[in-house]
Symmetry: C3
Subunit: 155 residues, 3 copies
């Protein structure tokens, strides 16, 4: 039991972000269902397309966030994940509205995803360095990624 | 090696359910391929739509099941996962048939998914309680979720 | 920190393959975006269909690779994963080209996926044997899967 508690300690922020993303998915599905019942074909197509775009990128997002969280440190990864979810929400709401603010782009939230990929790479590089040369910069890495994550807030 | 055996002990039920779900995905793909060869456009569209609906919800299901299994206990999570797979099978077969039993809903298996989300939440809450107040209800939690899981069998 | 280093040791190859697959997904998305801007409807549909097929199979691939890697041994699983990514790249490039080499199949990379499923099954069987009969063939299993993985290279 103590062992399992240790595992949870390393991942509970990631689990929370995953949970939020799942609730967001459920929100999208409910919106889509309601549109389907309203009978308006063009607006259903619109929402359906938005949901599809969100869903296509979802496994990629989950994989990258978990890898970054496991390899380096969970707090910056979870922070980037939350930012991604906010961007996704904005994208979906913008897509749904019939005003001109709807974004046509296929990919969104490039910056958080890019940051997470970078975290993964740095984490693996650090592991290889530790393995081959016996140097471990994990503590410094955690500080640096924590600081860099706050840069994502700049619009 | 002993360490890796410990990891497998905590996840082997989840791995088994994941394996079943993958085999089910393969079954869906084979069905779709066969429909595509038969040349009937309407029936191909039908099956294609069913497969798409199943696949859209698949990453969400996997994420929730693994989070619930890692945070609380694997047996109830795997049980809810199996129930979800059975519901999905029923949905797919009903969709494929041309009789009136085909279900039009976008989302299915809401109950197992909802139960898994609840498990995640309770697990994280328990971890936070243990962290801030030093109280750990993990043993009781396992019993309660195990008992609650059996309630899912009620139709 | 030492504990987290141990975790990374068991999964760093899997993380690397996941990273490659994410970069490949990004490559697909960029290609799709460029096609969308070019304004040619048929070629956009073509690429969109290829991307969709790749994305539908993506969560299945990730789940199977991680399960196989965690249950048995990461090196063969990562190797099969790399092979799958190469097959996917070939499929996508072949689909994009307008020559007759485009493959119409829904499923591709059946062999690596099948190998990974087999690895999962053998790993769980080995765990159950160790649990019920106290026999553990993990060391032999690692050797055998490592050797078998090289058989995937035969075209």
């Amino acid at each position: 039991m103590a062992n399992s508690q240790v595992i949870v300690e390393h991942i509970f922020l990631l689990v929370m972000v995953t949970l939020f993303s799942v609730l967001q998915n459920a929100f999208f599905a409910v919106k889509l269902e309601r549109e389907g019942k309203s009978g308006c074909a063009t607006s259903f197509d619109r929402v359906s397309c938005a949901v599809r775009n969100c869903m296509d990128a979802y496994p990629t997002f989950l994989a990258v966030m978990w890898c970054a969280g496991l390899c380096v440190s969970q707090a910056p990864a979870a922070f980037a994940g939350v930012l991604y979810l906010i961007v996704r929400q904005k994208y979906f709401v913008g897509y749904m509205g019939q005003t001109s603010q709807s974004t046509p782009g296929f990919v969104f939230g490039k910056r958080p995803i890019f940051f997470l990929i970078l975290m993964c790479m740095v984490g693996i590089l650090n592991y290889l360095l530790a393995y081959f040369f016996g140097r471990c910069y994990k503590a410094q890495l955690k500080t640096v990624t924590g600081l860099t994550a706050s840069l994502l807030l700049i619009p």
